[in-house]
Amino acid sequence: MPRAVITSLKEAVAENVRDGDSLSLEGFTHLIPYAAGHEIIRQGRRDLTLIRMTPDIIFDQMIGMGCARKLVFSWGGNPGVGSLHRMRDAIERDWPQPLEIEEHSHGAMANAYEAGAAGLPCAVFRGYIGNDLPKVNDRIRSVECPFTGEKLAAIPAMRPDVAVIHAQKADRRGNVLLEGIIGVQKEAVLAASRSIVTVEEIVDDLGGGPNAVILPSWTISAIAAVPNGAFPSYAHGYYPRDNSFYKAWDPIARDRETFRAWMDSHVMQRKTGEGVQ
C-alpha cells in the first residue's frame, strides 16, 4: 500500500474530494475537522452526501453554503445550545436547496462504521426496537439470529468515498496518533476508499504507548498540518472546546443573510488553514 502523502490542506482536498462524493467528517464532539470542512466549502464542492453522527456546526455551515445533496446523521443539534438552524432551514424550507436525509441512531451508525472497517456488507445489532425510525428509513431492516432466533436490526455497512478527520499528531512517515475521545474516526478511515487527516503538528516521534490509537500511514491518502484545525471543537492536549463560540453561533445561523455574511468574512475570505479565530 502507498503511504500517506504529506501535503497542504488545499492540495489534499483538491486531490481527494470530488463533486457527488459521499463524505464522512467524523469526530465525536472532539477533534471535529473544521479547517478541512471550510476548505471543502472554499473549493466549492457540490452534491455531496455528508455523513456525520453529530452534524455539529461544521455541517450547518456546509449545508448552508450549498455543498450537500444528502445528509446521513443520528443527532443534528448544537450540543447544549439548541437547533442547527441552517440544517433545519434546508429540511423544513429547502434553503439553499432541498436536502435528502437518512436518519439513524448513534448505536446504528457506530455499528455501521465498524462493519465498514471490518469489510462486512452490513451491521447487525440489538436496536431500533419499537420506534418509528424503520418506518421512515428503508435501510433499517432486520435479520433473525440463526442460532437463537432473536430478531436483530441490520443496516448497510458505512462505506464513504472519503473520510476526513482531525488528529493530534502525525510523524514524518505519516502515521497518525489520536488521543482523548476517539469517537468513530479509526473506523471511518478504515471504511472509506480515500481519507484526509489534518493534524495539529507533524513530529519526529508520536510518543504513544504500546496501546495508543494509531492509524498507520498506509491507511491514509493525505495528511496536512493544520494547527487549530478543530476549532471551535477541541484537540485534547492542545486547546479546549470553545463553548462560548457554540453559544454565539446560534444567532449567527438563525438568519440567512447574517449567516452568509459571517461565512464570507470568516471562511470564504480567509486563506486555507487560517482558521476562524
Binding site: F28, H30, I129, Y234
Partner: protein, 260 residues
C-alpha cells in the same frame, strides 16, 4: 434543614439525583440528567458510575459539560473508549443499570419523541435533533429515568414520532416489541414524580413536589393524568443538596464564560 427558596428546576434536579443509588452504573444524557447525575455523585452516591455516550467511562467532571464530549469528561474519566465499543460492549452488552434521558415530548406510556413535531416527517413543522443514543439506551439499559419540565406541549396525548420506546401502547406491548428490559420506571418533572402503573403501564403521579397542586399538574399534562392511590409529598431539597447543586452550576458558568 430545608430551604423554601429553591426553584422548580432545582426541585426537579434534586429529586432526580435522589433516584440514583450509590454504586449504580448510569448512562447519562446531556442537560438536566447530567446535572442530576453529578449532584448524586457529589452528595449521597459517591460511587455511582457515570458513563457518557462519547466513550467516557466512569467520569467525574467538576464542571457540567455543555456537550456530550467536553474535554472535562475525558480528562476525569477512568478510561475513554471508542463510540462503537461504548454502544456494543457497554450498552448493548448489558452493563448499564440506569439510562437517564431527557426528551422533547413524552406520552402517557413514557415513549419519547426527539425527532419531529407537526407537519410530516419529510416536511416537519419543527425538526428536532433526532435520536442520538436514546433508542438503544431506552431498550438496553436495565431501566430508564426520564427527566422533563412539565407542560401540555411536552406531555402530549399522542406523539408525532416515537424516537425511543417506553411502554409502547401499555400493558405487555413493550415486551412484545422485543424489549427485554424494564423501560421507564420513573419520570421526574418540575411538578411531580410519576411511575408506570403495574398493569396498564400508564405513567401515574406518585409524589407531588411541595407547594404544587393537583390542578397545576392536570393543567400541565396533555392527557387525562391519573394519580396513584397514595400520593405523597416529594421531600424538599436539603440545604446541603442545594449548596452542592448551586456550586456545580456556578463552577460551570465560570468555566464556560472563561472561554473566549
Amino acid at each position: 434543614m430545608s430551604d423554601r427558596t429553591y426553584t422548580a428546576d432545582e426541585m426537579m434536579t434534586v429529586a432526580a439525583s435522589r433516584a440514583l443509588r450509590n454504586g449504580q452504573v448510569c448512562f447519562v444524557g446531556i442537560g438536566q440528567p447530567s446535572a442530576a447525575a453529578n449532584l448524586a455523585r457529589q452528595t449521597h452516591a459517591p460511587d455511582v458510575v457515570l458513563i457518557y455516550e462519547s466513550g467516557t467511562l466512569e467520569t467525574r467532571p467538576d464542571v457540567l459539560p455543555l456537550s456530550i464530549g467536553d474535554g472535562e469528561l475525558a480528562e476525569t474519566a477512568l478510561t475513554n473508549v471508542s463510540v462503537p465499543e461504548m454502544f456494543r460492549y457497554w450498552l448493548q452488552g448489558g452493563r448499564i443499570d440506569v439510562g437517564f434521558l431527557g426528551a422533547a415530548q413524552v406520552d402517557r406510556y413514557g415513549n419519547i419523541n426527539t425527532t419531529v413535531i407537526g407537519g410530516t416527517y419529510l416536511k416537519p413543522k419543527t425538526r428536532l435533533p433526532g435520536a442520538g443514543g436514546a433508542p438503544e439506551i431506552a431498550t438496553s439499559a436495565r431501566e430508564t429515568f426520564i427527566l422533563l419540565r412539565q407542560s401540555p406541549r411536552a406531555f402530549v396525548e399522542k406523539l408525532d414520532f416515537i424516537t425511543s420506546l417506553g411502554h409502547g401502547s401499555g400493558g405487555n406491548s413493550r415486551a412484545e416489541a422485543g424489549a427485554k428490559t424494564l423501560g421507564p420506571t420513573r419520570l421526574i418533572s418540575d411538578l411531580c414524580q410519576m411511575a408506570p402503573h403495574p398493569e396498564t403501564k400508564e405513567l401515574t403521579v406518585t409524589t407531588i413536589h411541595p407547594g404544587v397542586t393537583r390542578d397545576q399538574i392536570i393543567a400541565a399534562t396533555g392527557w387525562a393524568i391519573r394519580f396513584a392511590d397514595s400520593v405523597t409529598e416529594t421531600p424538599v431539597p436539603e440545604l446541603s443538596e442545594l449548596a452542592v447543586l448551586r456550586e456545580i452550576h456556578a463552577r460551570t458558568a465560570r468555566a464556560h464564560a472563561g472561554q473566549a
